[in-house]
Amino acid sequence: MTPSHDDLKAYAGAYVLGSLDPDERAEFESHLAGCEDCAAEVRALGRVTEALARGVAQRTPPPELRDRVLATFGAPPQARPAARVRAGARSWLPLAALVVLTVGIGVYAAWLQVRVTVLEDRLEQALLQASAAEAAVAEARRVNTELQTTMGVLAAPDLVRIDLAGQAPAPQATARALWSRARGMVFTATNLPPLPAGQVYQVWVVTAAQPPISAGLLMPDAGGGGQTYFNTPPDIPPPAAVAVSIEPAGGVPAPTGAIYLVGKPGATS
């Protein structure tokens, strides 16, 4: 069946965004060569992609790059910053956990993006006010960076979803890990039982080759929801499983307590 002109014209948007599959693109390009109507559509939408190119946070390249670019083509890559582990529950996180687990990743990412937009506006306003407290600005920046980081994980091309199922101590608990080797792991859980005093939930990345790696501590809110972000080390193998155990406050180097949640990539809870 040959697609009609209208069918093909509907490809124009995805075409200018570079989002067609190779066979669809070939089909559209061969049609485009002889169709002035579609060519006009592509030109009009092309201006939108230029706007998208310009619609990013502006940053200045390092001054020495100018000489490198102009003097010689082909310089060695630069050293990269070391990875580090972070964990923490922020005021916006319990709601985030609920959204990612109940409504799906698309809506979750959209929700985060709205938070980022709100925070960016607030940050801009704060920066414009001479009286703004430095601490407030720093906090807004920090939360914003954290949200951006989470967004980065969601959009990572190597994203892996790991859904975790509640085990015997907490059959009603559920969790989801969103894993990207390049960008880190976002872990969210709901319906975890309240913690006894002096105890904490600890998230583990289980790999085939190494002992379990701690991916941070989880202090659930009153509803049993919580979230952590784990900045994956560059040399870590892909996870065979992700698990949550109950451990003494402060966490432990290797799991000792009962397993509350566990899941493998590709499995659904």
Binding site: D21, R43, V48, A53, T60, G106, A182
Partner: protein, 201 residues
């Protein structure tokens, strides 16, 4: 004078900028380093910002920016003004090469750590502050237009353009039917076109 007025004044010069860019590109093609320097001074910040947005790593972003200028130099004689401004041509190359780099990094057996510090301090540079303010205002305008789109439309567009995902991959990522993603992407793009056309001109 408000920023928007500055932007409006700047826009009037867009035609002149394009003419100068074409001249720079012509000189670049014939091996004149001065043409390259002028192009770099005018466009490196926008290109670098886009590349960094896509790959989120300063070292890689620097490499890709260098690649873009190398490619511009090789292909300068093939630039066709009827298909768009020099700036748009450079931005398109930057986007393509940044996505290629992103994909290549995924394919490597051990991926590099990524510093996703999008709000890192910006070093001082030689460009004048007014030009930077205009670019920042333009970026905000686009982001505002994007933020007014319904969420799935916005995500479909952003995942396609900044992350290089196909519609099929986006549908899988967002756990939405493919047909839904196709419709949302198209509707969102048309709305964005209208919203941006309404802006200061």
């Amino acid at each position: 004078m408000g920023l928007l007025a500055v932007v409006a004044a700047f826009r009037k010069d867009a035609g002149d900028t394009q003419a100068e860019d074409v001249d720079c590109l012509r000189r670049l093609a014939s091996g004149d380093g001065d043409g390259a320097a002028q192009l770099y001074d005018r466009h490196s910040r926008a290109l670098y910002s886009l590349i960094f947005r896509i790959i989120g790593d300063e070292g890689d972003a620097e490499d890709v920016l260098q690649d873009v200028f190398a490619q511009a130099w090789r292909q300068a004689s093939r630039y066709d003004p009827s298909r768009g401004a020099v700036a748009a041509w450079l931005l398109m190359m930057a986007r393509t090469r940044a996505i290629d780099r992103l994909r290549a990094r995924q394919a490597r057996p051990v991926a590099d750590a990524v510093g996703h510090e999008r709000l890192a301090a910006v070093p001082a540079d030689t460009r004048d502050a007014a030009a930077d303010m205009i670019d920042a205002e333009e970026a905000r305008r686009v982001r505002r237009a994007l933020s007014e789109l319904p969420l799935l439309q916005r995500l479909a567009i952003e995942l396609a353009y900044y992350e290089g995902l196909t519609q099929r991959e986006i549908a899988e990522r967002l756990e939405q039917p493919l047909g839904t993603v196709k419709t949302r992407m198209r509707t969102g793009l048309l709305k964005l076109r209208d919203a941006l056309a309404e802006g200061p001109s």
